[in-house]
């Protein structure tokens, strides 16, 4: 794939060329999505008639990462860290304040019209709450089939019913349920409908925003297994957003940890879970309850004090410094960049991965057996 081109900014790339680039096939293992310094600031206004901006909620403030074809990138973080806003920005459901999202070399934040429509066909989303993300007045067939009204090139009119039934079969639902309404299904089944809708247009990327957190444990495993199966079958790339670190480890190839609108640490699942170098990741991992009572005695727990600061007024320097036990003067003044820490640079250890901390240090908190 070509390097991210900025030519379309100047209008040098025509819409047709952009659509052609978007429809072009891509090799496994190549970056399919490149996010560069993505920002989203929601303005805070005062006044009713004459609104003036008094500040901004910096929900996403400079996030960069790559998604490779065929992989699953997990994004974890506490509520309010901006992970769902990132998902919306990647779909172009929110316009980014600054930064770029390159999909096959095309910056989707600047696309419009036919090219944007082509991108949206290839990037689909599965939402968290299967109870509110399905229209209660539409049948399952209409919910899934609606996508074909917008993108008629995927399925010709006469063929849609069969196509929807096929999709239901793929996600493990009885194809005869096509005329049922969402309330006739359980939570796990509804999430399957949501997944079928996401699959309908044969997308290349599916962004899953907390897809299993509303489900019961036994059903959660069914849905996670289904998603893994579908990934192999349809050659999908996933961005898997969740707050449950165990699920993320299970499904992800690489994991990014977000804190207050910034990426704190990113690496492969072994690097992040077994060799975390950022203190926030370490605290997050140590706080996860392990379903093994034998482990509770010898487990070291780092309990953070306080809450996440407000993203409208984030701390200066490192954003984690207010809750960090390692914080020094440097942390208040200098923003740590997301890069391989100097002490690990050039070393062949799993600790050598990107971490945004001045005092990055390896610490095994999970004690994998």
């Amino acid at each position: 794939m070509a390097e991210p081109s900025k030519t379309n900014e100047a209008g040098a790339v025509s819409e047709a060329e952009a659509v052609a680039a978007i429809d072009a096939p891509i090799q496994r293992g190549e970056p399919i999505l490149q996010v560069r310094n993505l920002q989203k600031h929601f303005p805070l206004t005062q006044g009713i008639l004459f609104k003036k901006q008094v500040g901004a909620v910096k929900a996403v403030d400079g996030v960069s990462f790559d998604l490779y074809q065929g992989e699953t990138l997990g994004i974890v973080g506490e509520s309010g860290c901006g992970k769902s806003t990132v998902a919306k920005l990647l779909m172009n459901l929110e316009r980014a304040t600054a930064g770029e999202v390159f999909y096959k070399g095309q910056d989707i934040t600047k696309l419009s019209g036919r090219a944007l429509k082509a991108v949206r066909r290839n990037i689909q989303m599965v939402f968290q709450d299967p109870y509110t993300s399905l229209n209660p007045r539409m049948t399952v067939g209409d919910i899934i089939g609606e996508t074909f009204d917008i993108h008629p090139e995927v399925a010709p009119k006469g063929d849609r019913r069969r196509k929807v039934q096929e999709l239901l079969d793929v996600v493990g639902l009885n194809p005869e349920y096509i005329n049922r309404y969402p309330h006739q299904f359980s939570g796990g089944q509804r999430q399957r409908i949501g997944i079928a809708r996401g699959l309908a247009l044969n997308p290349e990327i599916i962004i899953c925003d907390e897809p299993v957190s509303a489900l019961d444990v036994s059903v959660q495993a069914q849905v996670v297994n289904l998603m893994e199966k579908l990934q192999d079958e349809f050659n999908l790339s996933y961005i898997f957003i969740a707050h449950d670190l165990s699920i993320v480890r299970h499904i992800s190839d690489r994991v990014g940890v977000m804190y207050l609108g910034k990426m704190a640490e990113i690496g492969t699942d072994v690097q992040i879970y077994d060799h975390p170098t950022h203190p926030y990741t370490q605290a997050l991992l140590s706080a996860v309850p392990v379903p093994d009572p034998e482990a509770r005695a010898n487990r070291e727990r780092i309990i953070l004090t306080g809450d996440v600061p407000s993203p409208a007024n984030p701390p200066s320097g490192c954003r984690f410094r207010t809750r960090c036990w390692k914080a020094q003067d440097k942390c208040a003044t200098e923003v740590p960049v997301l890069a391989v820490p100097e002490r690990f640079r050039g070393l062949d250890t799993p600790a050598a991965h990107q971490s945004a901390c001045h005092f990055a240090e390896e610490k095994d908190v999970v004690h994998a057996s």
Binding site: E78, S79, S186, G188, Q189, D216, V217, S218, V219, Q220, A221, Q222, V224, N225, E228, H243, L245, S246, I247, R249, H250, D269, V270, Y273, A283, L284, L285, A287, V288, P289, V290, P291, D292, P293, E294, A295, R296, R301, I303, L304, T305, G306, D307, V308, V366, H367, A368, S369
Partner: protein, 351 residues
């Protein structure tokens, strides 16, 4: 589970002469009469909690774990709810036979409850100080001023920073973790003997969850309270519980001390649950998934309620309801506190 052979007449104060368990639920049944039929939410539950002990009630949604707790608290909506049989003994006295006035004296003062969703459990138009102080005003007849002072003390106790300044703030001004602390403070206000915590950390982030669970454990130790922790999170349970009761379709299917349960489950449902959770410290292959769905409470399957989802089900499971029987070692030695409601518990635990 020990049995009580004498019945105390009055709920005795803390450290009183009552020797049995603090709370004992015996053969409790709860059903809801709905337009579509009778939903049997709880079908014969037995458990007990001692002072200073933590009992975790584990189950998926619809397993009857919260309904049991509501029946204990006496906050079940009746109708449509109905308790056709069963006993709930608090310090040896059956609460289901008490008058409303007597139950009111126990509720809040002796048994308190922490709810899952702190934002919807707190009144949004009253300050937290007022809501905390209400406990003292109503139960102890304190003046408004004294009640507020006590509310500040409580907020300090649950480690809410700047309690004095925040006592007149409203619930929406607090973060999720802080709100849950206020719920805990409210439950602790009258220093009850027993706290029922219904999914106290489900809505919280992991880092905050750890803070809240730690606080709860600390306070429990300080006051020597009994704690019933209702949850579906096997991780949280492993961290804090002393013993576990696993519920499925309104019945307890397995009961065991915490270490035993995780090491050797004696019921296929428990085994399935343990296998279906992804582990932080292991990158597994495919997750084990319990096939099918939890049963509809209007139409609970005949025989063992778990039989349509069970990998080991035989004809016997379709016809006969397995009783909750004590589990023993292979050589017949007793395993204290262990029970299983499976026809094939021997194969499950020793196989």
């Amino acid at each position: 589970m020990s049995t009580i052979d004498k019945t105390a007449t009055v709920p005795a104060p803390r450290g009183g002469d009552h020797t049995g368990p603090l709370l004992e639920v015996r053969d409790l049944h709860v059903e809801f009469h709905t337009r579509d039929g009778v939903a049997k939410a709880v079908n014969g539950v037995n458990y007990s909690v001692n002072a200073g002990e933590t009992l975790a009630v584990l189950g998926e949604s619809g397993s009857g774990k919260s309904v049991t707790a509501q029946a204990i608290m006496g906050i079940l909506d009746m109708p449509p709810g109905k308790i056709p049989q069963g006993e709930i003994l608090f310090r040896g006295q059956d609460m289901l036979k008490m008058s409303n006035e007597e139950r009111r004296k126990i509720r809040g003062r002796k048994i308190a409850m922490i709810f899952q969703d702190a934002l919807s459990s707190l009144n949004p138009v009253l300050s937290v100080g007022y809501q905390l102080g209400e406990m003292f005003r109503v139960h102890q007849g304190l003046s408004k001023k004294d009640a507020t002072a006590r509310a500040i003390e409580l907020m300090d106790r649950v480690k809410i920073p700047a309690a004095k300044a925040r006592v007149s703030d409203y619930p929406h001004q607090f973060s999720g973790g802080m709100r849950q602390r206020i719920m805990i403070a409210m439950a602790l206000a009258l220093e009850p003997d027993l706290i029922i915590a219904d999914e106290p950390t489900t809505a919280l982030d992991v880092t905050v969850q750890a803070q809240v669970m730690d606080l709860l454990a600390e306070l429990q130790q300080e006051f020597n309270m009994g704690l019933i922790l209702i949850t579906h999170d096997l991780g949280v349970v492993a961290d804090v519980a002393d013993k576990i009761a696993v519920m499925y379709a309104g019945r307890i299917v397995e009961q065991a001390p915490v270490h035993e349960l995780y090491k050797r489950p004696a019921h296929p449902y428990t085994r399935g649950l343990l296998d279906s959770i992804p582990r932080l410290d292991q990158k597994g292959q495919e997750l084990y998934a319990i096939k099918g769905l939890p049963p509809n409470l209007l139409k609970i399957p005949s025989g063992c309620a778990f039989n349509p989802r069970c990998p080991k089900a035989t004809d016997l499971c379709h016809t006969e309801v397995p009783p909750l029987v004590p589990v023993t070692e292979q050589d017949g030695t007793e395993l204290p506190g262990r029970k299983s409601a499976c026809h094939f518990w021997k194969e499950t635990i020793h196989g």
